[in-house]
């Protein structure tokens, strides 16, 4: 069956600062389909969608919607044409209630110009219940979990009666159940004739829900087709231009003496009675669903949170850690999650970000020795394959993967014995992901103790020797890599099973 094309983008070109990032990209969307837009970070997906959403203007090329050429001069025009854009970053106003957010900018008013709260609440409730969310429309958004905030974003586009919905990584903060509900909803939207453009790095999800795909690489169109005629390997190959293995990573070094021992660590309402050990040259994973407390646990061990009881021993000696500085002195480093908020200083340049935690190494008579700093950076640039032309540019001009490598370099320079990686590959494309895994393996081979926190079970299965599964602030399962599967992890992570001490 040949389907009707609702949207065509032809020969779109766009340059930023005299650098062309889209080299004449074509894109076609059928009516009533879910279309995956794929590509590595920096391939031009977001730019293309921002052009469609009216955020950017193309230098060349045209957009044809329902057979008519349209100039998307600003986001308003795009919205009027029935295109809504759900951004990766949440665009909700946390100090307003749910219904106020839903109707922000298009509030319903009665004939006297007074807000029609009742009607807005009714419509909000209706749409939210379609999404399977049952909360009062008058709840303040600041009191909601991140996944609910994401749901509000999605609900808002449904409210507008959109013809085309662009979803940029909508599932990053959703739990599995919510993802399933979202997919169900996407399918019912599809059957009612709405077209969805779906951007994601999670290929499994794409396979589950998308009908067709378009792949971009380095601002070029490299392929499209039907999802059912292809497999993930082929798509990955298109995305990166070569085949990428999804095999597990191993390191040669055997685990040595324990370096970090945690005994009965408890923090009220965050985590309870946590015991574990990590040895030299070992990669230990912690996984679980949102709200399992693993980030809070390791933020406490790193001294970012101070209110906890229990014992932390490093190399057999108990340490009192109440500030990240103390953690660093004890030999613990943390590569935090949410790089933009927690790890990079966007106004400092790449070199300065690298040296920030170990300024003492670069000082001479109390002054910073810039040459030494630079030389050290170039060592790490080679070692970690950091791609940057001029390391004096601010770090936010680098891609996510390269930013993460700079953060890793920062902790290597500190020479920490224990390095905690929290969601180390968040927002990083497939190629760079594997590189980062390989660096983690190398670190383990050098005798570092590595802890990896991740919400993605496949990730911990690929790189960790031992896996701890957490549920509501407790470790519910411990396994060696060989003894556990993704399904089993899910059972422990959802609290369906619980047997805390099955590995010595």
């Amino acid at each position: 069956m040949e389907q009707e094309t609702i949207l065509e983008m032809n020969g779109i070109k766009k340059s930023f600062n005299q650098v062309e990032v889209l080299h004449g990209v074509d894109f076609a969307l059928h009516k009533g389909e879910i279309h995956a837009l794929l590509g590595e970070n920096g391939a031009g997906k977001s730019t293309l969608m921002n052009i469609l959403g009216g955020v950017h203007q193309p230098d060349d090329g045209q957009i044809i919607l329902n057979g008519q050429t349209i100039k998307m001069e600003n986001p308003r025009i795009s919205q009027k044409q029935g295109i809504s854009f759900i951004h990766q970053e949440l665009n909700v106003v946390t100090d307003l209630t749910i219904y106020e957010n839903m109707f922000l900018g298009s509030e319903l008013r009665n004939k006297w110009g007074i807000l029609d709260v009742k009607e807005m609440c009714r419509q909000t409730e209706e749409i939210l219940s379609k999404l399977g969310v049952h909360i009062s429309p008058k709840t303040y958004v600041r009191d909601l979990e991140t996944s609910y905030k994401q749901m509000i974003e999605i609900a808002r586009s449904l409210l507008r009666d959109s013809k085309v919905i662009i979803m940029d990584e909508p599932t990053t903060s959703l739990t599995d159940n919510e993802v399933d509900r979202l997919f169900e909803l996407m399918r019912s939207l599809k059957s009612s004739g709405v077209s969805i453009i779906y951007i994601s790095h999670k290929l499994k999800e794409i396979q589950a829900v998308c009908d067709r795909y378009t792949v971009l690489r380095d601002g070029h169109f490299v392929g499209n087709g039907w999802m059912k005629d292809t497999d993930l390997g082929q798509i990955t190959q298109l995305m990166v231009g070569k085949s990428v293995s999804t095999e597990a990573f191993h390191h040669e070094n055997k685990a040595g003496d324990p370096v970090l021992t945690v005994k009965q660590l408890t923090s009220e309402s965050l985590f309870q009675n946590i015991n574990f050990e990590v040895a030299k040259g070992e990669v230990v994973g912690f996984t679980g669903l949102a709200g399992d407390g693993r980030t809070e646990l390791f933020e406490s061990i790193f001294g970012f949170r101070k209110k906890y009881d229990g014992v932390i021993e490093v190399n057999g000696r108990p340490v009192k850690i109440n500030h990240p500085k103390k953690a660093v002195q004890a030999g613990i480093g943390l590569v935090p999650k949410n790089r933009k908020e927690n790890a990079i200083i966007k106004d400092l340049n790449v070199i300065e970000n690298m040296s920030l935690s170990s300024m003492g190494h670069f000082e001479k008579n109390g002054l910073i020795h810039a040459k030494h700093e630079q030389k050290t950076f170039y060592d790490y640039k080679n070692q970690l394959n950091i791609k940057v032309h001029d390391p004096k540019v601010t770090i936010d001009s680098l891609s996510g993967g390269n930013q993460q490598k700079v953060v890793i370099a920062k902790w290597l320079e500190v020479n920490a014995d224990i390095i905690i990686f929290d969601n180390p590959t968040q927002g990083i494309d497939v190629g760079a992901k594997n590189e980062i895994y390989q660096h983690i393996m190398n670190l383990a081979d050098q005798g570092k103790a590595i802890i990896v926190l991740s919400s993605e079970a496949p990730e911990v299965l690929r790189i960790c020797d031992r896996i701890n599964i957490m549920f509501q602030g407790e470790i519910t399962g411990r396994f060696n890599r060989e003894d556990v599967t993704e399904e089993l992890i899910m059972e422990y992570a959802t609290g369906a099973k619980k047997e805390a001490e099955n590995v010595g």
């Binding site: 600062n17 005299q18 790193f302 970012f304 500030h323 990240p324 500085k325 953690a327 660093v328 943390l334 935090p336 908020e341 927690n342 790890a343 990079i344 200083i345 966007k346 106004d347 400092l348 300065e352 920030l356 935690s357 300024m359 003492g360 000082e363 109390g366 002054l367 910073i368 920062k410 500190v414």
Partner: protein, 323 residues
């Protein structure tokens, strides 16, 4: 043919890039040069060396305070108490001087009172977790009140010979306050660009949480920032007191905080911290000084000078490249 075309494009884009880079980095310098040239054309006395030194002399107090303000604002805070602390430090300095008859004790008292007020600001902001605007607003009211109470609302005059020499001596043609101001500018520049402390201040102004997670002692850096600012205010208080050999508890330092903030902002420092330069502040201070001088030379009514100054501040910031 096609090749030639690309080359053409590239040269023009490069030129465009360079200018926009120059403008974004040094807009305050360009603005300063423009106003300087305008002033030179408007009045031929403007370029006299004596007039130029006069301008520097007039801006030295505000300039020293603005240096401290730059550091505070780079850290993401603000210090509204500088004017009041200047009055308080001046009053205590004169009291100590007269009581001890030692210039050394007088100098030490001014610096210590300034630094202590700054230290208190820093502790309130970092340990007390009070917004810097509020904490220093409290200090502003409190310090002025203490100055007024101690001197019964009037002025305090120094009664020790030689105290006036601090501000009224000179090295060749250049008055001591100018040397102190320019010397401190160089020191603060080095502090902010070449030392760990400076790097940490930029980091914490840009992203406090990431700075903390990078194992920076954020609290101590904040305390250091406000203490440094208070210390510099102490130096400014000395210069101010010594110049006239007296200090007024009610009018000395009035609205200095606003002039200092204006100079820092004109100098291109971002209000929320993390971005800005000491050199920018230097030119911001000079720009305000030249402007005042020009208006005096042109006999513009003092009642109108505020309006002109306000306009220039707004225009300068309007043209700055912001993100």
């Amino acid at each position: 043919m096609a090749n030639i075309k690309t080359n053409d494009n590239q040269t023009t884009t490069n030129r465009g890039l360079n200018f926009s880079w120059l403008w974004s980095e040094y807009s305050v310098v360009i603005a300063f040069i423009i106003i300087f040239i305008v002033a030179a054309f408007m009045n031929d006395r403007f370029l006299y060396l004596q007039n130029q030194l006069n301008i520097l002399m007039q801006v030295s107090t505000i300039g020293i305070i603005a240096l401290g303000m730059t550091v505070v604002m780079l850290s993401g805070g603000i210090d509204l108490s500088v004017g009041s602390v200047l009055a308080m430090a001046g009053v205590f300095s004169v009291l100590a001087l007269n009581a001890s008859e030692s210039i050394f004790v007088g100098v030490l008292t001014a610096l210590a009172v300034g630094a202590m007020a700054g230290l208190l600001n820093g502790i309130l902001v970092s340990k007390g977790r009070i917004a810097s605007f509020i904490a220093t607003l409290g200090m502003m009211a409190g310090a002025r009140s203490i100055a007024l109470y101690v001197s019964d609302g009037g002025s305090k005059s120094a009664e020790v010979d030689g105290f006036m020499n601090i501000s009224n001596s000179s090295l060749g043609m250049v008055d001591t306050p100018i040397i102190v101001f320019l010397g401190l500018t160089i020191l603060i520049y080095i502090l902010m660009q070449k030392t760990r402390f400076g790097r940490y201040v930029y980091a914490l102004g840009s992203n406090e949480k990431a700075a903390l997670l990078s194992a920076i002692r954020v609290d101590r850096i904040k305390i250091g920032v406000y203490t440094l600012c208070g210390f510099l205010v102490g130096i400014a208080a000395l210069i101010e007191t010594s110049r006239l050999n007296s200090i007024s508890s009610s009018s000395s330092g009035n609205l200095y905080e606003l002039d200092a903030i204006a100079a820092v902002i004109i100098g291109g420092t971002r209000m929320t911290g993390g971005k800005g330069k000491v050199i920018g502040t230097l030119f911001g201070v000079l720009l305000l000084g030249v402007l005042n001088n020009m208006m005096n030379l042109l006999n513009i009514s003092p009642h109108l000078q505020g309006l002109v100054k306000g306009l220039i501040i707004i225009v300068a910031v309007l043209f700055q490249k912001r993100d």
